[in-house]
């Protein structure tokens, strides 16, 4: 374990000194409001990501089942005699 040296102690004293910071009384309220907005935004982003995920999975399942790239089967035979 390192022994705290003299310089460190001096700087520490320097940093600790100074007037006790007057904390604005509405600091907590501001933080709560901003925090609520952040949480709301996070929820929205999460919801959008989930919606995108579900849509992608749904599309993949439909594609696998319906195979839309195979064209319609022909209903009529080509005319004879050419």
């Amino acid at each position: 374990m390192k022994v705290p040296d003299r310089k460190e102690t001096e700087v520490r004293v320097l940093l600790e000194r100074g007037m006790p910071e007057p904390v604005p009384p509405d600091l907590a309220r501001r933080a709560v409001l901003l925090g609520l907005r952040m949480a709301q935004r996070r929820r929205t982003v999460q919801l959008l990501l989930w919606a995108f995920f579900v849509a992608t999975v749904g599309f993949a399942v439909w594609v696998a089942l319906a195979e839309p790239w195979t064209g319609e089967p022909q209903q009529t035979t080509p005319p004879l005699g050419w």
Partner: protein, 197 residues
């Protein structure tokens, strides 16, 4: 359902406000040291702190068992490190002559008492770099304080006689220098017109 949620919301707000009431003073002091603003007039530090506290509040339920103070400090430091360029301009505070990185190290290591290894891990720096920044910051601040409060305006702190002076005397002078700085400023302002007249 809505009733329960609003009750939860109120409980969380109450807990959070109790935490802020206890911790805001110290955190604001740290933020003010970081932004290099004078004590008592630190809008940028307040903004930095409100952002960090807001993120702590948003994560409040997730940090059950964790320390909200540590979470807030970690967030504060991370955001400061990320936007350090904005705080390079001196603003008249105690550490305003130091580059933001050195300020950050001094605050983390000495004001908050975080271990070198933890500070390095939190910022993604090698331990040697942390040690180096800290040493350089300490040297600058001590030599600046030792060479008198007025010397802060000079770019070069200069290894004056103060650096080799006996330590206790220097510490005392540092204390006195800080204490008389305000009155000296007023004196100077008052003396100036007389000098002109």
């Amino acid at each position: 359902m809505g009733e329960r949620r609003s009750r939860e919301e109120r409980r969380r707000a109450r807990e959070f406000e109790a935490f802020v009431a206890g911790a805001a003073g110290r955190l604001l002091h740290a933020a003010t040291l970081l932004t290099g603003e004078p004590f008592g007039a630190a809008p940028a530090a307040q903004q930095l702190l409100v952002g960090a506290l807001a993120r702590t509040y948003a994560d409040w339920d997730r940090l059950r068992g964790g320390d909200p103070y540590e979470h807030t400090r970690h967030d504060l430091v991370g955001h400061f490190a990320h936007s350090a360029r904005r705080y390079r301009r001196p603003r008249g505070g105690l550490l305003d002559r130091l580059p933001p990185q050195e300020r950050l190290m001094l605050v983390l290591r000495l004001y908050e008492g975080v271990a070198e290894e933890q500070a390095a891990a939190a910022l993604g720096l090698p331990v040697e770099r942390v040690r180096d920044l800290c040493t350089r910051g300490m040297a600058t601040i001590l030599s600046r304080e030792a060479s008198g409060p007025g010397a802060g305006t000079g770019a070069g702190p200069g290894p004056g006689p103060g650096t080799v002076a006996a330590a206790p005397a220097r510490a005392r002078r540092v204390v006195r220098g800080i204490r008389t700085r305000d009155t000296a400023g007023q004196d100077g302002a008052g003396r100036d017109p007389e000098g002109v007249a």
